[in-house]
Symmetry: D2
Subunit: 380 residues, 4 copies
């Protein structure tokens, strides 16, 4: 456990190595957080949920930090408005790395002495929370760099691109009662627990993800201009935001280009499609005469195909499983309070941290969001 904790803490730092000090600070839109905020907030989580309760005589590193680095825990007191995270140049990046060191050290001391079950459960959550923020950190850096007119390279070795240009096949699943949800002893979040039966109709699911080339065809066939393909809310969104292509695509005189963490490159039609909203995934499926799988279908069928390259939008709304109970107290805010207006994504992506996904993992975003590395798989 200590090992896992230390590795996770170290990996966050590793992700920051390609960055300049300036890159840690900015917040170009409200849903993106500054890198230094992620670094501080993941430390705050250990400090406020574990150290202040379980470590004798623990002193807060800085009495202002809980206010600065609380994310959304209403029950944990006042906090800086989300939109203001990028307005603070202080504490500096250096200050925050010191804060991390302080917290890591205190946690190590604590973990060396206590084997308390409740404590270890919280540490598990803290580690997974940090892994989650590692993915967010990469998403946010990509957003910052991908919207900078200079299109800086994050890391020339961080290759997110992936091919799925083998022939499309359809796996058939027969109708029947199936069981989904997490039921092993491994770590899982509360939202995926409560394994339960579901009845599924006959369905077919594709063996591969949709590619850039296929989506290009959709664009060239005026997919973004046919209202019959889109939800009403989606149509409003593409009109208001002038959406005409996936997030990191741009059309220049030389043709289509796509921004990656390795820099700006010509769009490769054989690569797997990335960074689309649920709305776009749905419209594409509609245009293909197919649909998106539900999360139950995906979970039942997932052994048939390889996954983990893109977060795959499903048709399922993010809802509590039967008999779901929110954890009591502040940690109850972790998952349950987002169970409305969001869609489930399954799988994982090239930005996802090691071991931070599994077949029962339920990721979720509002349907217009696309700064996560999302793609789609067709079903029918």
């Amino acid at each position: 456990m200590i090992q896992k904790f230390i590795e996770t803490r170290a990996f966050s730092k590793l992700l920051c190595e390609p960055l300049q000090t300036e890159d840690f600070v900015i917040q170009p839109v409200e849903f993106v957080s500054p890198t230094k905020w992620h670094l501080a907030h993941t430390s705050w989580f250990f400090e406020v949920f574990i150290l202040t309760k379980h470590k004798k005589d623990y002193q807060l590193y800085n009495k202002d930090f809980p206010f600065l680095f609380n994310s959304y825990y209403e029950t944990k007191g006042e906090r800086v408005m989300r939109a203001n995270r990028g307005n603070m140049s202080r504490p500096t990046v250096g200050d925050i790395f010191q804060y991390r060191t302080h917290v890591t050290k205190a946690m190590k001391e604590l973990l060396e002495t206590s084997k308390d079950k409740e404590l270890l459960d919280l540490v598990h959550i803290g580690i997974h929370h940090e892994k989650q923020h590692q993915e967010l950190l990469l998403m946010d850096i990509k957003y910052c760099f991908g919207h900078n007119p200079l299109f800086p390279v994050y890391n020339p070795d961080f290759d997110e691109k992936t091919n799925e240009d083998f022939e499309q096949k359809w796996f058939r699943v027969k109708e029947g009662l199936y069981k989904i949800g997490h039921d092993t002893n491994e770590f899982s979040y509360d939202n995926e627990s409560g394994a339960h039966k579901v009845f599924l109709e006959n369905f077919e699911i594709s063996n591969r993800l949709v590619t850039n080339g296929e989506f290009l065809e959709f664009i060239e066939n005026d997919g973004y201009k046919d209202p019959l393909l889109w939800h009403a809310d989606a149509w409003d969104w593409i009109q208001n935001e002038k959406i005409e292509h996936p997030l990191y695509w741009q059309k220049t005189k030389e043709g289509w280009e796509e921004y990656h963490l390795t820099g700006l490159e010509y769009l490769d039609p054989s690569h797997v499609l990335s960074h689309i909203s649920y709305y776009e995934a749905f419209a594409f499926a509609q245009w293909k005469g197919c649909r998106l799988p539900t999360e139950s279908e995906w979970e039942i069928a997932q052994e048939q195909f390889s996954w983990g390259k893109r977060w795959e939008w499903t048709e399922s709304a993010y809802l509590p499983y039967p008999n779901y109970q929110k954890a009591s107290g502040a940690l109850g805010e972790y998952n349950g309070k987002f169970m409305v207006n969001q869609k489930v994504l399954r799988g994982g992506s090239a930005l996802t941290s090691n071991k931070h996904t599994r077949k029962t993992y339920r990721n979720f975003f509002h349907p217009h969001m696309r700064w996560q590395q999302s793609g789609l798989r067709l079903a029918k």
Copy 2:
């Protein structure tokens, strides 16, 4: 069929009898439409989907009306922006009643001569469409009057209030495979067709709706102030909109009052709760240690209790049933394009038109909406 058609048309007119000319015109918020718009739009529906196609030599009553009275059919051409419906004093109320007469007459002529199946199906939809707008018309009138500082009476005889002050009991349903969805020959919308099996866990559902008195307790126990009871999106909503009570309640020096179509009255704790959002329904259930039923649970259990007094929020997102296919062409926009970001309500309400609901009927609204007459029933 002609009879049904004529009755429906006549009933729309009847609903307007208590109104002054001025009342037909206003649109205090975007989601409310002027009464005269409803009257014209329901006629436009018959004109554009039926008369122009099925009636020989039919001439549009007025070539500008399709532009003025299209609601959201992107495929039916340009239209007045929804928010501008209340900015048009012309055509006058008189003009619109003439338009109605013109359309009704032409439809009668058509129905007397043709028994074409496709035509009759469209007429059915047109009739049900108009019934739907009859409920919207009442919702909108109530909104207009309930937000006018003078709180005008719509109709002293239109009593929406209802008691459910009998003892609460819990009906138990055993886990198992059940079948839901519409499968008779009666009229239904496409969104409820496709009867299919669902697996339900054991659950219990209340024999009665929540009352004003119960909700008052929630308020007095600071239910609106405890973030742990609310979804994240809900908490933002109640902060931004300063929500502290159901839509038509107000607290004065003399105590709580509620606006009804019969006028402003003291709040009666024994009456059934009305005009709450899904967010409020969820928070109340959370506070009670219960939850909302899913739409499947509701449909399976509904024979056990009486319903139809309030639209009952369910925990279910409004999603397509398995094998759902949008109708082709413009009518495909009727239901399918709303199947994201909305919640299902079941039952019916005091504002619902005669025969415009059934046990499989799926009503839907965005979760913050509450100008429909919505209430809630607990499950666990």
Copy 3:
């Protein structure tokens, strides 16, 4: 005085004769008020500033009306938010005409018995206030009809169009000390009193107003596309609002058209330009290598030319004259509180009520406003 009062009251009613009931109700944008609001508000002014103070035992016609029909007098208590004036279908138009009759009658009784100087001064203000609202009423009706897709005719006999197609000449005024401001015994507003000396440089001013034809040339020479012609705030405004021509112009397949109170007509290049903002007036003058006159220049030069056909934008900001003192109490809110961010217009227009302008009259609007009948005269 009684005569003047009665005539003014009657004229407001006369202006409403061409209207349908529906036309009295709507408020398509915040700065436009419903006709029925103008009718009620001008009565409220007499009621609250005169009758309640000077008429023995006067009873308010309706205790809610002061709340409903106060415009902006913060000191006169709470009021309906400006943007909500069009959301109220009640009181009806009939109710408001009764209110007017009640107030007119009470005022007549009062004026027949009292000759109190302070009272008569207030009545004067009340009469001029109503004349001001008569112009606003016409501006607002024009806005409602001119934005209705049906472009209804207000009154086929109400001709606002006017030619100034005689040859342009420049009147020269020599530099020197001049006196401006009101100094007779006639009625004037507080903002024009305080006659005072100003030093003017040599200047020239045009004998005529700019015509549609001249402005068309500006458009055709891409005047709306050259940032060097525009103020920074103006450039933002034309970008955000997509401004490309004067308010009531539209370009159709058949060419330019202009809406008048007599209906939609082809644009006549020889007619005087109307309904432009200060920003457009300034850009046009810039493009011509000229400028707008200051209000002092206009006042000194006005005997040289005929005026009163259009409100003429000046380069002057609306500021207090030397030694200006706000009236005490609520009437102090009449003019003084608007003396920032607005520009002075001089002259009068085809919508201005009889005797409601004079050479010292200072009209004022924010620089982007153009629903008043504004034009421009060049200076250099």
Copy 4:
């Protein structure tokens, strides 16, 4: 001239010495620019207006920089939206200092070889432009730090505070013809040139600026709550923005505090008032039964008192002087295009760079702005 140029460039750098890298990056609100943007933009000015035209074979340092660092010159091509200046972490602070070095070196070379009059005029403007941005840089840093919950110290030796606690006296100026505006050979901006005569009435002006203590009295006497003291636009502003005190004041349990570049301190009533809007200045003067001076009055009277401690709001709108002509081409955008909707301030402040003010200098801001170090002097 070279000397002046080099000193100015060096001073910009000196101002940055107390800063951490992170401090150069952020833009908490649209009207504040990041420090690194100021550093780059002032170099861009020399590059684009001088080097590319006057230096043979000059190569742009980076072809993207004109796009990144243009401020508002529409005629100089596309530019980053103002609100996005803080969204760019690259180019880094280091890159920008290199850019500065490159430009400074090229300019020095140019100045050593050319004495062209047109060139020197442009250099003068460039130097003064940079001085202007030095003040903006300090205003912006103060805004960033003064809105950071940690209230960092910029520089413990940068003391902006100043006393004017001597007895108030009123200087009288007799009515008559006076001359204002710039007419020496020294550098001045185009907006202050065109010396011209103005007629002034008798007036009196205070020998000192208003103090914190006096303004505190205004607050304690509910000055922010009396609508009769405020302009209509001002009243909307204080309601919407919840304005209750000057910008850098805050009330804590321990009393009133004020943020300075030296850190957070208790409010000193004897210090000169800072960081108020025109609206607040006007309301205060109104409350005192006085008024603000016009810019002409200020300029005529200024020899009687010491000034330069605070920018002093005047009652004058920022308008062109008689016979004002915009410079041709892009530099014509420098001043003229702001001559609407703004108020003139005279004097200077503790943040103003050396020699960057004079008695004829016309500073200007929109009336609600208060991040400049503004105060007020009464007149009557």
